[in-house]
Amino acid sequence: MSGKTLKIPIKRRDFIRRSVHTVVGLTIGGIGGILFSKSSSEEMVWQLDPNICIQCEKCSVNCVLPHSAVKCVHSYSMCGYCDLCSGYLQPGARVRDTGAESQLCPSGAIKRTFVEDPYFEYTIDEKLCIGCGKCAKGCNSFGNGSLYLQNRHDRCLNCNQCSIARRCPSQAWKRVPASQPYILKGDESNKFLKS
């Protein structure tokens, strides 16, 4: 055996090994402890702030789901129930009919129902909505801004890194606590106010 002199005796090597093992174990424990002290038992989920969103249409195509988790929602408390809804009708649509060609929504997801003269109620069929935000843009530009986009948590997978968030040009996405998973407009925002 040529390298005998370089060899550390087995016992001492064992001792070193064991001490390193303990030290590393304690370090991991320590890191774990620090992390636990900063943790919350609650999950964080992704949501977009409708007050920052510019309705760029990226939400509809950048979600990892084939059909985006982002849908349009409607704040009834803010809505003017207009006959001439700028979120429902194409700009410049001369006839206020409900034909597909005069609707703003590419998938016909907005349902218009007569309430009483001169008011109309607009509801969104989430199964049809693709989250493009065209209606929200219309409503935001010329109406009360009662139509807006939200990440719907019955569909969202809650990816560790939301693939829309990093492509959002207005940086509207953030992590929010799971108990307050929506950022709502109008009176509905009271729903998740901290008591």
Partner: protein, 451 residues
Amino acid sequence: MIQSRIHRGKIFIFAFLFVFPLFCMSQVPERFPKPDFQTDYTRPDLLTPTPRATALEYIDIFVLVAALSLASYFAHKQRSRRNIFLLMVFSLAYFGFFRKGCVCSIGAIQNVSYVVFNPAYAIPLTVIVFFILPLVFTLFYGRTFCAAVCPLGAIQDAVVLKPTQVPSRLENVLGVLPYIYLGLAVLFAATGAGFIICQYDPFIGFFRFGADFNMVILGMSMLLLGTVVARPYCRYLCPYGVLLNWLSRLSKKHVRITPDECNNCRLCEESCPFGAIKKPDEDVPLETKQVDVKRLAVLFIVLPVVLLGSGWVGSRLYAPLSRGHATVSLAEEILLENSGKRTEMTNATKAFRASGKPTEELFAEANSIQHNFKVGGWIVGGFIGLVLCLKLIGLFMRKRQIEYDVDKGKCLSCGRCFAYCPYEQVRLGIITPEEADKMGSREVKPKQFRA
């Protein structure tokens, strides 16, 4: 005259470009009064479906603990490749396809780095557990997490068809990549630029049956490559694998190829698809040993130089790296537009200008982020330099190897090599001890079986 008209026109365009969007995008005023309904119409409720319940997250934790315990039991006590394989399939189904690959231990590195530098972020309990537990198990039992629990490892393991051995030089070079990836991932997460491990996860698209085109191509080629180079992501990219590698070397217990004593029959030599089996050294003459000591001394002298050098390179890379942060890239676009080098506004700059935030504030933010990238670049660069040096030192300071054994850092405890050992076959009652001893001296192929 003409000049001033042009000037006026410019002002008008300016006003139109900046003030108009400002007007329509700032908090929308109530343009139409809320109606007073005469009929008994009541406003519908806005439905807000809740996220997945936290209770279900605890099920994930439970499954993780159970899977890790079982994996260690199968590898150490049963030494059963078949059971490890079955557990791996289960993990692939549960953590991969059912839980859609999120959150995983690999990605959790980023949440941990993020919370250290952004105290406002409350890191969820599940993420901590997914980060810490596999590390703890590895410190005690080796990388059994990789063998049967990690969904990314599992999907690659499932396609290992005709593994070839990677030349050791190439292996050494490629082996540096995970350290670089780890450094960058921590840097990006810590500075708040984003989670690149998640962004460039090649397999997540398979778990979700959908991803963007480039990622699908990347995932496909990774799996295709994985048929001949076993688990390429695990060996040459996985940043969590770096941590597991370190801890596995210190592990209290680690799987061994033979349940008994190695008699250097060489039967297991080629059995590991991951190149994790260490062969016994041929006797090294004394002179080379002394040469090695000399080289070692030289290495210790150049070490600080390498450290500083790579740290410097890392910090110099701040400009391209920091562009990965949305705030920095936005600030650069605004700068381009303000200096007139670009006339067309992007969505991002439009949104920023509409928000009414002062440009100075944005620039100050961007500057401080760039500063963080510079400091972080020093650290990450230094870290990579250190790794390079340690790798070189490791090449010269190899412990004497007298038998076939697993390389504790690289071995994933998958159990493939066990059955190649004749003494394992004795343990299983397939052959008698006498036959096993003979196999050592003669080059006889044992009865082989694989799970």
